[in-house]
Every structure is written in structure tokens, then in C-alpha cells.
């Protein structure tokens, strides 16, 4: 009898420990290579010194103030670009997602597949192709210039427009897919009900479709905004010194100038700013997606 009880108890403990065993390897990996580096980066941001003399921890909080004044343009520009690109992707992506979800019919999957096609091409190659498309004498500008519709010295490359359009191109699918997912789940009978209650099509859209697709707007905006703010590939390949983003600054501080404390401090500011932004945004839209 007592054997059975003991066995049961052992089985119970085993079961209650099971999730922790399952979590252990993965969470350890994230602990060692995500949490620990972040802490290490925090300490590095408080160091002083140079590559020649070595860096030493002096709790030099001053760096944070310094980088804020030194790179405020780039920080502000990154956030502005992030907002513009997110807005542009939303504007372009919403009708697209709406059409595929509501009127796609049997072409739905084929159309969706077309939207994710760019993911099968390397990000760097896609951006380089985009540079080619926008080139001064390229397929579009060249043709327009030959037709006399544009002045000869007109250019898009090395302007904010090139960087913004490159970013919009790269991140459009990230916006369109969550939008599609939320529009596709939408219960059409609600729209019919709205129609039965004499709502105009416009009104039915504003009062039913749009509010119910907000989770998609939320997810899509995050998937777009976060990577755009940190991106430096587009700014580097398509832009100029007037389009430098905060990602470029971090990359240069850390990998070119070996100014680790500054690079670490900016990274930390960027990370905190985004986390706080995301939390506020989540509060505003009241979504549970975060802790799902």
C-alpha cells in the first residue's frame, strides 16, 4: 500500500518538475547569451578609457548624457523614420490585406504567397536590388530623364526618400501578414448585421471591420517599427551622411571606432526606449498578445 502511495507521489513530483526540465536548456541559453550580454553591455557603458589604454569601470554615467547630446539627431531621425515607414506600410498594406482576406476567394493562398516571396531572397541582396532600381540612370529615373520629365541631376539615391522607400519595401510584408490574419478571422455575419441595420458600407467598415482588425494593426506595427528603428542596412546602402540612423552609429562606434562605452550606452538607450514604447502602445491598444 505504502509502495503505491510512494510511487504516486514520485510520479506527481516528476510531473510537476517536467516543465522545468523542458525549459532548462533553452532558458539557460537565453540567460547566458541574451541576459548576461545585456548586463555586460550595461557595465561597459559605464567604463572609461581608450582602446590603447584599455577600458576600466569607473561608473561614468556621464556617457549617457554625452551620447544623448551627440547623437540626438540620429536618435530622433530613427524614431521619425520608424513612424513614417510604419504609417506607409499600414497605408499600403491595409487595402492589400483587406482585398486578399475578404475578396481573395480561391486565389487567397496564391496571393499571400506572392506577398511573402521577398522573404525567399536575402535581405542584403533585396536592398541592393532596390538600390539598382532607384539608380540615377536606372530603369525608372533614366527613362524619365530621357523623356525629359525629370532634370538630369535629379536623384533619389542618397536622399531620405531612398532610405524610406527601401525600408517600406522591406517591411511591407511584416505589416500585411498580421493585418491579413486579423481580417481573415473577422466574422462576416457582423458586417451583414450592420448592413441589415442600415449602416452604409463606409460606416460598417469604420464601426466593425476597422476596430476588429486592431490586433493586426498592433502586431504589424510592432513587427515593422522595432526593426526599422534599429536598421542600418538601408541607411548604409541607399542613404548618405544625412540619413544616418542610430543603428549606423552603434555599428560604427562598436566595430569601426572601437568606442565600446558609447556604443553600449546608445544600444541601451535604444533598447529601453523601444521596450517602454512597446509597453505603452500595448496599454493603449489593450492587447494580450504580449503575454499570450
Amino acid at each position: 500500500m505504502s509502495d503505491i502511495v510512494a510511487e504516486r507521489r514520485a510520479a506527481l513530483t516528476r510531473r510537476s518538475l517536467a516543465p522545468y526540465f523542458l525549459l532548462l536548456p533553452g532558458l539557460t541559453w537565453l540567460g547566458v547569451f541574451y541576459v548576461w550580454p545585456t548586463i555586460q553591455m550595461f557595465f561597459i557603458s559605464l567604463q572609461e578609457g581608450s582602446l590603447a589604454t584599455g577600458y576600466h569601470l569607473t561608473w561614468h554615467w556621464q556617457t549617457y548624457g554625452d551620447v544623448f547630446t551627440k547623437y540626438d539627431t540620429q536618435l530622433l531621425r530613427s524614431v521619425t523614420y520608424g513612424l513614417i515607414v510604419t504609417g506607409a506600410c499600414l497605408l499600403i498594406g491595409y487595402p492589400l490585406a483587406y482585398f486578399i482576406a475578404v475578396r481573395g476567394g480561391r486565389w487567397k493562398n496564391a496571393l499571400l504567397f506572392m506577398v511573402i516571396l521577398p522573404f525567399f531572397v536575402s535581405y542584403v541582396i533585396r536592398t541592393l536590388s532596390w538600390k539598382f532600381v532607384l539608380a540615377d540612370q536606372g530603369m525608372f529615373l533614366g527613362a524619365l530623364k530621357n523623356a525629359g520629365l525629370l532634370p538630369d541631376d535629379f536623384r533619389l539615391l542618397a536622399t531620405p526618400i531612398a532610405v524610406l522607400s527601401g525600408l517600406t519595401y522591406s517591411f511591407l510584408p511584416f505589416m500585411a501578414l498580421p493585418l491579413y490574419a486579423s481580417l481573415e478571422k473577422l466574422d462576416r455575419s457582423l458586417l451583414e448585421a450592420a448592413g441589415d441595420l442600415y449602416a452604409s458600407r463606409r460606416k460598417a467598415f469604420l464601426k466593425v471591420t476597422l476596430p476588429l482588425s486592431l490586433p493586426g494593426v498592433f502586431a504589424g506595427s510592432l513587427l515593422t517599427f522595432i526593426p526599422v528603428v534599429g536598421d542600418f542596412i538601408n541607411a548604409q546602402l541607399l542613404g548618405s551622411t544625412n540619413t544616418t540612423m542610430i543603428g549606423n552609429v552603434i555599428q560604427r562606434r562598436m566595430l569601426v571606432n572601437n568606442d565600446y562605452p558609447e556604443g553600449a550606452a546608445i544600444s541601451f538607450i535604444l533598447m529601453l526606449a523601444i521596450l517602454i514604447g512597446v509597453l505603452v502602445y500595448a496599454r493603449l491598444l489593450g492587447t494580450e498578445e504580449l503575454t499570450g
Binding site: N109, V124, S129, A264, S267
Partner: protein
């Protein structure tokens, strides 16, 4: 972060591509309006444009260094695909890293997803939140912090550090993907197997695993795609080692050889065929 997000969006897409609800044609919207279809067509052309450029210029018979103007058709670059030794090495590195990353991240991530969907335990909500964090951190910050760690300990950077980094940023995506697919998972089936005398190990491999397999497969292909495409994090932790994206980025300053277009085209075609094949296979099964 860009590629990470791409993973997530792609997970959503794959999900949608596989589960297709049979729906009646809607009489209210049929044949109405041409603006939206036209618009959708234009956006799709826009999305495809740079891909078309990449494919086309892999066939360009260029004379100089810069592959910017069309100079005639050739298959030369397909024949001479491996003439740049370091490009070939970079591609091999990328494939190796992506392969190992896929294996490790899928294993670790699936275990976490199983713990989160099949068990109630203390610390479940914080774990969910914690899994979200690496996805909400811009890639450039992930790279900078890993570099901080490796600098502090004087770790030599190379294949191993790239691997470690790739596994780190793909785990969360695997967890999210597998979790999405295991949500409606029926725990009773596994219990039934145990009641019939299967030990937990057998019950898992014979019952649970086949059920969650589509999710695991989706997560694995996602992990592979994220890893092979990563530039940002890799550039911080690579040291002297190059991967395919790093090589291409470096070459962009001096003119990218058409071999890059060809490799890009081959990866593109292989990926598309693989994805279509998977979908077809799953259709046949159901």
C-alpha cells in the same frame, strides 16, 4: 531584428497558407469594383520588382566590374558559379551555420513551447514575457551586447560565436511558431497512450511528436531562413569569418559580381519549390 520579424510574419503566412477554410463564394462582393484588384496587382508587382532585377542580372553578360546596365544574355555566371573562392567559402559557412542553428534552436525552442502549452506551472506568465524580449530587442542591440560579452572575456570570434548568436535569436521564434500550432493539442491522446502501457518516451515519439510535427517543421524552416539571411547580428560576432550576407555586403562597395545574383536566384527558387512542396504534401495528407 529585421530578419527576426520576417520570421514571425512568415510563420503567420505559412499558417494561413496551410489551413485554408473552404468558404462559399460571397455573392455580395462578387464582381464589384476593379480598383482594389488592380491595386493589389500593382503592390505585388512592386514586391516582385527587386527579385526580378536580381534574377535578370544573373544572366547579364557584363564586361566591367559593375553589374548595373544590361549588356546581353549569358549563362556564363551559372557555369562559373564557384570562381570566387571566398564567396563559395562564405556560402558554405552560411549553410553550415544555418543547418546547426536549425537543429539546436528547434530542439530547445520546441521543448520550451511544449512546457508552455502542456503544463501549468509557477512562472509560466513571466516565461512567456521573457521569450518575447529577444524579439522586441533590435538586432543591432543584440549584436552589440553579444560583442560586449565576447570582448569582456576575450573570446575569439568565429564560427562558434556566430552559431551561439544565431541559436539565441531564433529560439523565441521557434517557441512562438510551435506554440501557435500546438494550441488545440489534445492531451488526452497522450494520456490514452500511457494508459495503454506506453512509457512516456514512447508516448511522446509515437503520439505527441507526430501531432506537433507540422508546427516543428514550420519552426525549423523559419529558423533556417532567419539564420541564413542574418547580417546584423552576425557582423558583430563574426570576427574574421564571413557568411554569405556579409560577403555580399562587403562586395557591394566594389561592385557585386553576378555570381551573387545567381546564388540568390538558386536560393530563391529552392526556397519557393520547397515551400510549395510542403504545402502540396500537407494538402494530400488531409
Amino acid at each position: 531584428m529585421s530578419q527576426e520579424a520576417s520570421g514571425r510574419a512568415r510563420a503567420v503566412a505559412e499558417e494561413e497558407a496551410v489551413v485554408e477554410p473552404a468558404r462559399q463564394p460571397r455573392r455580395t462582393t462578387r464582381g464589384r469594383g476593379w480598383i482594389l484588384p488592380l491595386y493589389t496587382g500593382l503592390v505585388i508587382v512592386y514586391l516582385f520588382l527587386p527579385i526580378a532585377v536580381m534574377i535578370l542580372f544573373g544572366f547579364n553578360d557584363l564586361k566591367g566590374r559593375f553589374n548595373f546596365t544590361w549588356q546581353g544574355f549569358t549563362l556564363r555566371h551559372y557555369r562559373e558559379l564557384f570562381v570566387f573562392r571566398d564567396l563559395t567559402v562564405a556560402l558554405k559557412n552560411s549553410l553550415l551555420i544555418a543547418g546547426v542553428t536549425t537543429f539546436v534552436a528547434t530542439a530547445l525552442g520546441t521543448m520550451i513551447a511544449l512546457a508552455l502549452t502542456r503544463h501549468r506551472f509557477r512562472g509560466r506568465a513571466p516565461t512567456n514575457m521573457f521569450i518575447f524580449l529577444p524579439m522586441a530587442t533590435p538586432e543591432v542591440v543584440l549584436g552589440a551586447s553579444l560583442l560586449s560579452l565576447f570582448l569582456t572575456f576575450g573570446t575569439a570570434r568565429g564560427l562558434i560565436t556566430i552559431l551561439v548568436a544565431h541559436v539565441m535569436f531564433t529560439i523565441s521564434f521557434v517557441v512562438v511558431t510551435v506554440k501557435a500550432r500546438t494550441h488545440g493539442f489534445n492531451k488526452e491522446w497522450e494520456e490514452a497512450a500511457k494508459d495503454l502501457g506506453a512509457n512516456p518516451w514512447v508516448a511522446f515519439w509515437k503520439v505527441t511528436f507526430p501531432l506537433i510535427f507540422p508546427g516543428v517543421l514550420a519552426a525549423a524552416s523559419l529558423a533556417f531562413a532567419l539564420s541564413i539571411d542574418d547580417y546584423v547580428v552576425t557582423t558583430f560576432v563574426s570576427g574574421p569569418t564571413t557568411t554569405f550576407p556579409l560577403w555580399v555586403f562587403g562586395a557591394s562597395r566594389f561592385g557585386v559580381p553576378p555570381q551573387v545574383n545567381v546564388m540568390g536566384t538558386i536560393i530563391f527558387v529552392a526556397g519557393v519549390l520547397l515551400a510549395l512542396g510542403t504545402v502540396a504534401l500537407q494538402r494530400r495528407r488531409t
